[in-house]
Symmetry: D2
Subunit: 410 residues, 4 copies
């Protein structure tokens, strides 16, 4: 969200964008579920709306059954459908979900216009908008799986792709001095609870790559047998490689092409590698002679970087090489691909979850996940910031995830 | 199919009925898949059409990719999508599948009108109609699972239900003498390959119940702890009861109601019990002091019975008590519920599969399944006959399956 | 058991043989369990003893906990350990199990000597001896899995193997006329309940091979891609081939050898193929242009055949070619390998289970299994007979199972 | 290991202790495997020996097949048996494994006596002794599962247990000031690679409990429905509770008793709770109003504490209340139970794995595990130290694991 938005304008803008993202899809596209991870588009449309109705308006008036259907994981709010069975819900149909959106939108807009929302509810409404932006990204990652796992691999929509061959930017490192640093979101302004409190940390001198790992490097890793060499992998990663038969990143095909939201295309060596699991990111970093950065290192490094990468607003929906000129001293760290860090997702010292049901928003996932930073080409511009902490389990690949290499500095 | 149909009239009638069965459903209803067993309606619409295009017209002209998408299990016809992933196919969408139906219908009708179909192709067209009738029943059983496993359990369509309480018909047995009998379909007229050749068999004297097991009996079984008493069950059945936590037939709810295609209703004690697995049918028969009949016994018993039960054409879509007057000496054995038999599905002596890919139609499923007889309230009238052999694995419950008790006669 | 045995002599002989079969094994060999199917030797030693104590003596005096530990599957006799966890039972140790055997032996012998056993108990004792012989065979099949699935594949004991190359006997068929036949065990003499009652059956003319399928034929099947060609397989069989990665019979190794109870040896083309599943037997028969016989056909064919094959008493523990001269009109149908039949395991008309807990001996397994006939090189001589019905699930391979081909006669 | 040991004396002492720990066990006890986690005693006896032969002597002379059988996870050292199949290895038998130990012991002692070991090999020998001590603890945890999951739950050996009722020590907190601290093992003296390098860290003020969570608190948690209240649990933890049906710590029985290595005993409320997963430790801490400490906090807090708890050398093999007097300002943090920390297992800044195959010793497990600190009543005295980092997955319960509560200090 941009700071200059009024809350009402922001609400209208965010809500309209969600609908726009679903516009290229048929009702059939929007109801199915390819895995427990990836939810149907229709579910996202309804769940984000339920969030406002339940947590801002506080009154389930449209259809009381929607709490059970469209609650995601809030145990405090009662029974709900199993995550893996969201794709069974053909009723309500898509039209009724749009009617639900309109009904709640009208009620929210009325409340905003009449000024009847108390400050706590306004805070939860602001949170609801950031929440909906998160689901905008999930709509794209999840529909990519819906379409990409079908035999015909249809495109989500036609995307403009440059045909000009691009040089793969050389890999260079920028060095950081280390020391005692302040990490996390300042106490003012919007941030999720998991970004706070801002706190001191110590970081040793390190270097960070000027760009993410690119496809050219993944192709080299594959050619040298990286997916068959256990010594490159974490033990859990190697188990996963064998069990799931991984031989390349997700959506890569055997014929030198990959599936994108614009359909099947040749693998472009210059592009940031995406749909990497943490295990692959870690193995690639090891193979390239480095390691993944910690989230503290990452946040230190980006402190003064502009957010100039590619975001969902660019309607590319696929990562692209840096727009910085070769030799530009800056790092392009935001957008394009989420960057796996070496840090397990854990509370900051003094972490306090939000009160009430919203306390489940972040805190209860603080085990078994790794932190990712920076946003991706599927993230709404303005949604991420330097302190933003995304998190996924180490085997997850359906997100727009890549990696950037770090090194110790002697 | 009725004998007096011309082939063209039969084609039009059967094809139209399939579309009519899908009419109450939204596009969303028709694309999802609740289990590997139950296919999407859209898939049924397309698969039955592909059958005519591939095996009658012999030319995949509409879209060559449809072979891979809509072949069910014919290994001889190449690669195909995994059965469990049929519910992912949002493209082609429903409209395109209807266009596919129209295109193939026009080509078939032209071929029939111009007389360009050779006799073997005409035979395969006739087979295709019986095949489509089988899928009409599956459309109903499968959409029942789609709708019935959703939290809101919506109705497929409104069904007229009698409110008049009905007496549960008394259980009586009719005795049969046994001897050397002829079993199976005669060599003339349509029958599936698994009904032939007609052959001699020996049957010992036996008795068969005048009606299927009814809900009143299932309620008694439950009340006496039948689902907790291993001695009533086959060993595999007991394993399934414990593993899957069965406590009642499928679609029964804890509050004395059950889900039907017309929505949730009170359990009517007088109705034939349905959605029983073979294991439950066997246990109920044992508890009631009898056993399931063999398929030979069943076929002997029904030789002179009319087909006067309830079929899909009655638009009831739920089994009902016999229409025969109490004391009527006849058995009402057709329609309402498929009746599990004690016979494993196996080839008749001298069985010959159909030539070519159609040889996979029946023969390759002759292991691990039990024979069922008689058709159900979801079967098109005229589709079944005394020699008709349906078959499902013993744990299957999503079909319209019940049972009738037999006894030895000393 | 031989008819001329007195019951006491038979008891001593059978019990001693069980111990002798376990003699080559260490205590460690006798405790572990490689799969839910294969039980530890120690468990067999104790379970067969418990059978006599519980069902003949009727008094659990040695250790009441043994009922729970060593009951196999009798639900009527209370709680018991999960089948898959038998290999956890290190206490009681082997010495105590031998003490248990001695204690029960002394009590049984005393009862027999003093004549205190009532006729029903004598019948159950006789059943217990046949039961123990069944477990003698299982001791061998199960220890073969214990040893054969270890990396070093040690021998159970040294076996004498002929080094003389043997010709593969030519495949020939003997024709049988068919007609109305009597099947099953006569009412006198020992037989299991599942062999009775003797009853009429109709069999059409058929031909049966002079010998089982041999390794030479399996090698041909493999060479022609039989394990990769779905059209040769039943649908369930093909699913199993793919899921379990079958490329050859169990215990075959990639280097042209196989594991036997005497250790690793070259594959001898002339030997009956063993460790075939029903699915493989069925596919091999189809590939060879025939089919598997029904159990009725098999029983008809062997009616006048001598039991002249190889049994466990020969201490070969591996099947060998027929001992009949080439051109001998007889079939060698007993011993060497159990022969899968096309018949699902089902009750005979008028079947009555044994009374009490023993009613679970056979009847409750009458679903999901196929009948095998004839005994094997691991079966005690004298244990099988023409009417003997063994049964295993179609995917089972750890038993000494092979097949013989039948054909229709026009 | 105690510092005053000569290497030879230490070698003899450690090796003898391992054998002594296995002495109460039969050969049968030592071969079986109750889960993929818990290895057979015999495997531990052989694996620790293989470690010396392969990595110190560098020559596999006794039996080359032992590399494949007894390598644990070193990918650099070639093929090995699946972890879950260690319990199948009945050959070599236990006697031969003892012969293997003797052979390697003689060769090591000769090398030490003659001074033929180069310094790197001496370092690896020292590592091998610490490695063997780790397996001494695993022998105890793993045999506890072997015996405790059997129906009869026999004791490992008789243990002296005080019958005097003990008061549950009151829960009190000691406060620590925080600041910049040095963490990790100093560069001199033995430590595992994962304890280094020693490095600066920042810790905020915190408080740490005077004792671990005790059974009285677990009983309260259970009584208040803690195992049924999702809001107390991490999301992954709650999934595990439901999936595995947890209702109490591992080895607790429904009748108010628990299984110990000394057999079944009443639950003593005053004892430290053990066999807790990380999820349970985290939920208990939340329920008690605190949280788990980070590993940095833990290490700061124990810096000046004596190692005065109960260790394996005490032959209690079960945790006991603190030996410190009430009001003693000190914490008893070593021994009794390993203490789960809130820290995911990750490399320290500048971490360098050991060279060669030993590089796999620790580093490749740095994902999906939590750090535990302090040792347990099954750990050899002298094996742990303040910087020692143990690690297990968050659902692991078969280890001697408990927890201590921390709190933020405002």
């Amino acid at each position: 969200m941009h700071d200059h938005d009024s809350l009402l304008a922001a609400y209208r803008r965010v809500r309209a964008r969600t609908v726009a993202l679903s516009a290229p899809l048929s009702a059939e596209d929007q109801v199915v579920q390819p895995s427990a991870d990836a939810s149907p588009t229709k579910w996202h449309l309804a769940h984000t709306t339920w969030f406002f109705e339940e947590l801002v308006l506080g009154e389930l008036r449209f259809d009381p059954a929607f709490r059970m259907l469209f609650n995601s994981y809030y145990e405090a709010l009662g029974q709900r459908i199993d995550r893996a069975r969201r794709g069974l819900v053909t009723r309500p149909d898509l039209a009724r979900v749009h009617a639900y959106r309109s009904d709640v939108d009208a009620r929210i807009e009325r409340a905003l216009t009449t000024g009847s929302l108390e400050p706590p509810a306004r805070s939860r409404l602001e949170l609801g908008l950031h929440h909906e932006q998160q689901h905008q990204e999930l709509i794209l990652t999840d529909i990519k799986q819906v379409l990409g796992e079908q035999p015909l691999q249809p495109a989500y929509r036609e995307l403009s792709v440059s045909d000009t061959p691009r040089a793969t930017p050389a890999l260079a490192y920028r060095t950081f001095a280390g020391g005692i640093v302040d990490i996390g979101a300042a106490s003012q302004g919007f941030a999720f609870d998991n970004e706070r409190p801002r706190h001191r940390s110590i970081v040793e001198p390190f270097a960070l790559a000027n760009r993410p790992i690119v496809n050219a490097e993944v192709l080299g890793f594959i050619a040298e047998g990286g997916y068959r060499e256990p010594r490159l992998w974490l033990a859990d990663g190697w188990d996963t490689v064998r069990h799931d038969g991984w031989r390349a990143p997700m959506y890569w095909r055997d014929d030198g092409t990959l599936y994108t939201l614009g359909g099947v295309r040749a693998i472009d060596p210059s592009e940031p590698a995406c749909h990497l699991s943490y295990y692959e990111a870690d193995a690639l970093a090891r193979w390239l002679g480095g390691r993944l950065p910690t989230e503290v290192e990452w946040e230190v490094a980006v402190a003064e970087q502009p957010t100039n990468g590619h975001f969902a607003d660019d309607d590319r929906f696929h990562p692209a090489p840096s727009t910085l000129a070769a030799g530009d001293g800056r790092l392009q760290v935001f957008g394009d691909v989420w960057e796996w860090t070496a840090s397990a997702y854990a509370p900051y010292p003094g972490f306090r979850p939000l009160p009430g049901a919203l306390g489940e928003y972040n805190g209860k996932f603080m085990s078994g996940q790794q932190v990712l930073r920076g946003g991706s080409c599927l993230t709404p511009r303005g949604h991420v910031r330097a302190s933003y902490r995304n998190f996924f389990p180490p085997a997850a690949r359906w997100q727009m995830t890549g990696a950037r290499i770090a090194k110790d500095v002697a």
